[in-house]
């Protein structure tokens, strides 16, 4: 028996066939020779051998099939055992290098953890389908104004489109937000609610937890008034008692029969509430009473379900065509725009999340570069090990595989810790940063996110592992044996690559720092915009009067006037006012007629309209710049008056004296009002927006059933709130306060987006800076360690400590400057992408660039300082001893 065939270990698929042929040929040859030995001529012997053998090609095919099966099984087993071996080896390496493993794992965990958090947010907010039935076919419809702005529909328009949209939509529903005080069950409470078209629950797939949903006939005015309540309200106010069905509730002083309870699921929340986070406690059918709503009032949200196979572009096109056909000179019909409801819910978060995702990707890249760097440094130390393995016959592919396995194992370790960090990250975003994004409450780290993280970890392992693995596979057997093992030779290229990596990290950090700086400045600019009012020590609450008890303007005004005078007398209250809309939050606006001026329809002057009490401007400490404030004489029956803001005067009455001019906020449908004063601009819209023209109208000359009370006082805000609640309660126990807040809360809410983006990006940039510093420190201190002999020799030859330090610093600054230059160019090119997130600062703001560069340079030099200091302690003797 000979030794096993040398080719066996590396048998290839082609060998299988050759071996079968060789075996069969051997048999036939032996037979032939046997017959020849008995005296048969050669050709005769061959024929006989073949006949004896049988059908050669059939037997060959059969044998080959079996062998190929055998070969594949063996190849599979070999791969598996190689993989098991690689992983086992990787685990051992990881275990035997605890310090390195700790640093690498932490770095990777940071990168992977932050990426996991961002993925879970993007997944929950943007990627997952909406919670409704056939969510992909839902479209939100809004009306397009002449100016191009999209606004909700009016009630008559909803009725029109319900009929006219049938060619493209399977169904059209609508709703509007409302609120009603619930009384007669314990303390009165203002409930947020909704009036919905009765087809909406079926269209969205919302089914009741208890009872039933609405019937079509319940939209008619003559039907018995019915209400559905939320599971939350049912548990909170009715102790989860199923007897609530059929019970009559007093809402706004009128009776409504409870017919069902909607579950507290995501699906029970309409699209705009998914977006805003508002909760609903009751639902009522759209009623005929609201059909009397004026055509100019736009408050209805419309949602449609596409007919199967209808592209969304067709909807807008078809509906606009219909609008054009229905339009008449006197009665223009506005076109509609259909947007996928999912897009509508996501709103403007797409841009912000895109920016955050890009930042996280940069951070992850930096983390990868750092770990790759550490691995390269270690590779130099492992030159001998690699050389020995190559000498023992390890193939290049085998070496690469093994080192990649090690990297992937390290990345998975980082991934595990990263997931733990991600849980913390999501918690911090929710409870620390109080992030408010559409559907943010659904953001969790579930199996979908975990699967992403697993994939990401493997990918990360391959990314940071590939360069070190390829480098090591170049291992030279001679290295293992000769003196060259000291690793001076061949490490030059590796060191250059490592410095390139760190320069890249510096550049990427610079980009992140600039972005973070720009957003921080944006935040600061938004915070410091002139408000036009004093926000501190002011509380506010909505007081809404139920129609049943306050059906006319006389009774409404009487209640509000009485409330104001009682509040003014209350201890601790400095000033009290009322307004129909609060600053920053925005309110109703509309066209204005100005005496003596005519405009083409699309240039009709617009203004925000605020119905206020005379004390409102005083309570807000707004300044009257010209004319006078409202006076007690500005009442119903007196001369109609208004005040305007500076923006109004500037925009609509340029170069004229506003005071004394006559205008009409009803677009010329009633008696003109005289402008008696001009108010310094208050932020009547979002903080970042230009201040819109606004008019202030005394409530004493209007009919209004709901106003915000605004109370300024020296006492703490909870106390002020109590005073308001008790005063209102003492006047009418059926009235409940709603939206109780301080003006500072509103202000904080107004800068919430800027605060969150600046904090998140600031955190990412800080982490990037830290990682880049660690990377730089690693590279420089490694090179100092490698140059021990050289530095010692220099010291022996008389180099001073400052010379040695300069030598090391020069190396560090080389990397730093290269990184800064590339980073600055990159940031310069990229920062335009976030221009739409910025306010009050240009995307190429020189100060931000300068500060980011200085900060980066300072941290980088600090990271270089420690190894440089070590270099100065170089011992001349060391140089000799080492040889």
């Amino acid at each position: 028996m000979s030794a096993s065939d040398p080719r066996r270990g590396i048998r290839r698929a082609a060998d299988v066939e050759a071996e079968v042929d060789e075996e069969l040929r051997f048999h036939l040859d032996m037979r032939r020779e046997e017959y020849e030995a008995t005296g048969a001529p050669a050709d005769e012997a061959g024929r006989r051998a073949l006949r004896k053998f049988g059908d050669v090609s059939f037997i060959r095919a059969q044998t080959l099939t079996i062998d190929q099966r055998l070969y594949r099984r063996a190849a599979r087993a070999e791969t598996m055992s190689a993989l098991v071996q690689d992983v086992r080896y990787a685990l051992r390496t990881v275990r035997l290098t605890p310090g390195f493993t700790a640093v690498a794992t932490l770095t990777l965990a940071l990168g992977i953890g932050v990426t996991t958090v961002m993925f879970s947010v993007v997944d929950g907010v943007l990627l997952r389908p909406l919670p409704y039935a056939s969510a992909d076919r839902l479209v939100s419809l809004s009306e397009i104004q002449e100016t191009g702005a999209e606004i909700p529909a009016s009630f008559p328009e909803y009725l029109l489109w319900k009929e006219q949209s049938r060619s493209v939509l399977a169904d059209l529903g609508a709703w509007f937000q409302a609120q009603m005080p619930l009384s007669g069950v314990g303390e009165a409470e203002m409930l947020p609610g909704e009036r919905i078209s009765v087809n909406l629950p079926a269209m969205l797939g919302i089914t009741p937890l208890l009872g039933r949903t609405f019937r079509p006939e319940e939209e008619s005015e003559s039907a018995e008034p019915v209400v559905m309540i939320s599971e939350g309200l049912w548990r909170r106010r009715f102790a989860s008692d199923s007897a609530v069905i059929g019970r009559v509730l007093t809402l706004a002083g009128r009776p409504f029969t409870v017919i069902g309870v909607f579950p507290a699921t995501l699906r029970s929340r309409l699209p705009n509430e998914l977006a805003s986070g508002r909760r609903t406690d009751y639902w009522m059918p759209l009623r005929a009473t609201t059909r009397t709503a004026p055509a100019g009032l736009h408050f209805m949200y419309m949602i449609g379900q596409l007919k199967p196979g209808t592209p969304i572009e067709d909807v807008s096109a078809r509906l606009n065509l219909v609008a054009k056909q229905l339009s008449t000179e006197d009665n223009p019909v506005h076109g509609l725009r259909a947007t996928p409801t999912a897009t509508r819910v996501a709103g403007s978060t797409r841009d912000m999340l895109g920016m955050l995702v890009a930042s996280v990707a940069i951070l992850l890249l930096i983390a990868c570069a750092n770990v790759a760097n550490l691995l390269l440094a270690r590779a130099a130390a492992r030159t001998r090990e690699f050389g020995i393995r190559v000498a023992l016959g390890a193939s290049r592919a085998r070496m690469v595989n093994q080192l990649l396995a090690e990297s992937v194992v390290r990345a998975l370790l980082g991934g595990v810790l990263g997931v733990a960090l991600a849980y913390g990250g999501v918690w911090a975003m929710r409870h620390g940063l109080k992030v408010r994004l559409p559907r943010f409450e659904t953001v969790t780290i579930d199996e979908r996110v975990l699967a992403f993280t697993l994939l990401l970890s493997v990918l990360v392992g391959l990314v940071f592992g590939v360069a070190p693995a390829l480098g090591a596979a170049r291992g030279d057997p001679k290295m293992a044996l000769g003196d060259a093992a000291r690793g001076v030779f061949g490490s030059v290229r590796r060191d250059r690559f490592r410095r390139l990596l760190v320069a890249g990290e510096v550049a990427l950090s610079f980009v992140l720092l600039v972005a973070a700086g720009l957003l921080l400045r944006t935040f600061e600019r938004v915070l410091s915009v002139p408000l036009g009012f004093e926000s501190q020590n002011v509380v506010t609450a909505m007081v809404a009067l139920p129609y049943s008890r306050y059906p006319d303007s006389t009774r409404q005004r009487a209640f509000f006037s009485e409330l104001l005078s009682r509040m003014e007398a209350a201890p601790g209250v400095d000033a009290v006012g009322m307004t129909s809309s609060l600053p920053i939050e925005g309110g109703t606006n509309g066209g204005v007629a100005i005496e003596g001026k005519t405009y083409p329809p699309e240039q009709q002057p617009m203004a925000e309209k605020r119905i206020v009490s005379a004390g409102y401007l005083r309570a807000m400490q707004a300044r009257v710049v010209r004319g006078r404030a409202f006076e007690p004489g500005d009442v119903s029956g007196g001369a109609p008056v208004v005040m305007v803001n500076e923006s109004f005067a500037r925009k609509h009455l340029p170069g004229e004296e506003a005071v004394g001019k006559r205008v009409d906020f009803q677009w010329g449908t009633q008696e003109m009002q005289t402008i008696v004063g001009v108010v310094a601009d208050m932020r009547e819209g979002a903080l970042r927006d230009d201040i819109p023209p606004a008019m202030y109208i005394p409530f004493t000359q209007r009919s209004v059933d709901a106003l915000y009370v605004v109370v300024r006082g020296a006492v703490p805000s909870p106390q002020l709130t109590t005073i308001v609640r008790e005063t209102v309660g003492s006047m009418d126990p059926n009235i409940a306060l709603a939206e109780v807040r301080t003006i500072d809360d509103i202000l904080a809410n107004g800068v919430a987006t800027e605060r969150v983006t600046a904090s998140l990006l600031g955190t990412f940039a800080g982490l990037a800076l830290l990682l880049a510093a660690v990377g730089l420190y690693g590279v420089i201190s490694y090179s100092v360690a490698q140059r021990t002999q050289e530095l010692g020799l220099r010291a022996a030859l008389g180099a001073r400590q400052s010379d040695l330090m300069a030598l090391v610093f020069r190396q560090g600054t080389g990397v730093l400057v290269a990184g800064l230059v590339v980073g600055a160019l990159g940031a310069f090119g990229l920062s335009g992408l976030i221009a739409n997130q910025l306010y009050g600062v240009g995307p190429r703001d020189p100060a931000t660039f300068a500060i980011a560069g200085a900060l980066l340079a300072f941290v980088a030099l600090a990271a270089t300082f420690v190894p440089a200091l070590r270099a100065t302690r170089s011992d001349p003797l060391q140089a000799l001893r080492a040889e």
Partner: protein, 115 residues
């Protein structure tokens, strides 16, 4: 001729295992032994032993290894594994029992006669 092959189909594995029971052999040796031991029952179609041998290898009863033949040519040698040896023992018992049963059946009188 066809009859002889049919008989072998069930018992070829057993013959192959037996052929290897004295030590490693290549296919030609095995063929010769069968020819000798069974009075040439294979006759033509002795090639069928190759798929059979390879199937035994797949089952793990034999292992194959390349070696040099008596005339210094490369030849594939087969040898029994532990499980192959066990299989041979089991098959042999089965076959003997079966053959004895068939044999005694052929010798047995009719049921009516024996009563």
């Amino acid at each position: 001729m066809t009859a002889s092959i049919d008989i072998l189909r069930g018992t070829l594995d057993l013959l192959l295992l037996k052929a290897l029971s004295w030590g490693p052999r290549h296919g030609y040796d095995i063929a010769r032994w069968i020819e000798f031991a069974t009075a040439d029952v294979l006759d033509v179609g002795e090639g069928t032993l190759y798929p059979a041998l390879h199937r035994l290898e797949e089952k793990g009863w034999v292992v194959a290894e390349w070696g040099a033949s008596e005339r210094n040519r490369r030849a594939k040698y087969y040898s029994l594994t532990m499980s192959g040896r066990a299989q041979l023992k089991a098959e042999k018992q089965n076959w003997t029992r079966y053959a004895q049963a068939v044999f005694s059946a052929l010798e047995a009188p009719s049921l009516a006669e024996s009563r």
